[in-house]
Amino acid sequence: MKVLIAEDDINILEGLQRLLEKEGYNTVAAANGAIAVDKYRDENPDFVILDIMMPELNGYDVCKEIRKSDATIPIIFLSAKSEEIDRVIGLELGADDFISKPFGTRELMARVRAVSRRALAQKPQNDSFEESFTMGNLTVRCSELRAERGDLVVDIGPRDVEILRLLKENRGKVVTRNMLFDRCWGEDFFGSTRTVDQHISQLRKKIETNPKEPQIIITVHGSGYRFEG
């Protein structure tokens, strides 16, 4: 999924990019409102994160511009302005959510996932796209970005879905880190194996009954990971 992030503070912008890309999102950055409108038209993102106070064009005006051509694309406002009127204006303009700064990353990601589910639901899918699949007693619902085990329901990111899908497709086989990089991070990504390991560690915490004794994502030392089934 591609997300457009419009934020004039470069540190917050880069931090958000890192956070979302870690989750498996592709990000498009805009440092002001005018660039945001241009990038929206050029990049056709799946959803948008907008700061309100930006130079050139503020977040409200960017939202209005986007809504002229797309009434359904999910939009999240991200702002230090947290007065009730600011929220009301934002929501009245058609935003799907309003997150106040400073925010917790978990809170942010939870809301991003919620918005992503809506975006996925609207997106036309390929015929080969699986709505869900199971891995042992775990059910992965792709469009909802959720994994279920019995009563337990956890939110997962698009990259998590891709990782699990890859492991499922290669059931019983070792999936190397490079395979994971290519499939889930993109061929252009140059990162260390620690990136994969950290992500797998995070994913285990979400889906494994006991992350220290994983049943679904099993480590194959020196090689990669494997799903036994």
């Binding site: 917050i12 302005k81 978990r106 560690s201």
Partner: protein, 530 residues
Amino acid sequence: MRKTLVFSLLFLILLPLVVISWFSLNRMKESGRIVEEQYRESVHRELQSHAVVISGNIKNIENELLTQLTAAGTDISKLQNLPETSPLIRATFYRNSAGELTYPNNSRSLSEQERLFLNRTKQLWEQEQFHVQLHAEQENTRDSYPSKIKRQKKVSQPVQANWLPWYWEEGVHLILWFKNRDGSVIGAEVERVYLLSSIIAKLPEKSDEKGLFVLKNGKNELIYRWGELPKGAAKEALKEINLTAPLDSWRLSYFSAIPLRDITRVEKQNVIILLITVTLLILFIGFYFYRETSRDLHEATHRVNFVNQVSHELKTPLTNIRLYAELLKEGFDDDDEEDHPTELSIILSESQRLSRMISNILTFSKREKTGITLHPRESDLNAVIEELMEQFSISLKRRGFTDIELDLQCRGALSIDADIVSQIIANCISNAEKYGHSGHYLRIKTHCSNGDVHIHVTDHGPGIPTNRLKKIFSPYVRLSDKATEGVSGTGIGLTLSRELARLHGGDLTVQSSPEETTFHCLIKEMRREI
């Protein structure tokens, strides 16, 4: 607020203005009436004074006539000579005791003057008017002349003297007559020219008043006038009086050169000037008060806006601190949190503390400016509390809290404003962290029943003195003693928490002993926002 202030000021200004205006108008009317009355009274006195002068003049003529007539007595030849010797007398007459006009009499040869006298008085003798008048005068004037006549010791005075006016051709004529003891009557006709000239001589030539005095006879014929009347002045007399007998048919009138309304104008102008002055004074006071109050309001608004602006500006760097601290934290292997550098945890913890502080300040200022609105949604209270405990975990650990207990009995989603509830509980935990750390113990317990959500935050610190329990909820108050001296804080946390709890339909109370302090927060589930 501004509207209320404006309406209050308008009321405070308009009410006294209306009252003062009403009183002023009444006073103006009353003053005008009084001035008018006084002016009329003054004119009346002026007229009266002139009438007295005329009356005095008549009396002088009367006394002189009586003196001359009594000196002549019944001597016809003397009576006959009086018109020639006395400028007062035009003609004389004598009636005998039988009522017969003895002099002048047609049986004798008459002079032209005598003949004219008889002609003028013909009707008097023929129509018995004189006799009737004689009788009536005797009755009516009994008290008026006798005393004066008696005083004239040198001349033998008759009992009564009377005037008899009648009209003939050119105007009123006067006869003075008296009756002798034997019943005979002696009388004299006053020389009319002398009468008029003597009266006019006594009257002013010009008037000090800005107006016109007019003396007219009974036929409304002008006798004399003095003073001036400009063009366009009123043609009606302001005041009129009748002279006394024997000229009681004569009328003395005053015509004012200045319209009556102009006379009262000065007084009205004075009242209007006073009213305008008071109005301006009240308006000035009102304006001054409004300006000062507005300035205070403005400054208060600026202060609030400044607080909001500062808080807003703090949020951006705070966002970065928290965002990157969490990114760094997630970069470590989470299997063992104790491997995370303490510094990182501290950065995160302090950024969260700063965030809570800013939130408190903003909420506190908002409640003064616009009020706080609840946004209840289906929320997981346990998740809220667990999130808070994670935020506080580092600071609690560093404060020495070794025994942290969570007894969360509320299950499922509750219709609450999670942000508000989080703020309430955070302030209670913060209070325990600051002041209760010596007990090394913290417990958060929740239980729900029938829409009531009870949250208890307990520490085993030194407790709060009983006489200070209420004060801790007052804004800006921070109890100071050895245990609390030097502890950081703004003094608004508990104030805010109580107000927020009450906003949420409940309350925040405290029970404290030297071994244990428990903050009990009660909130009520609210109808969910649609």
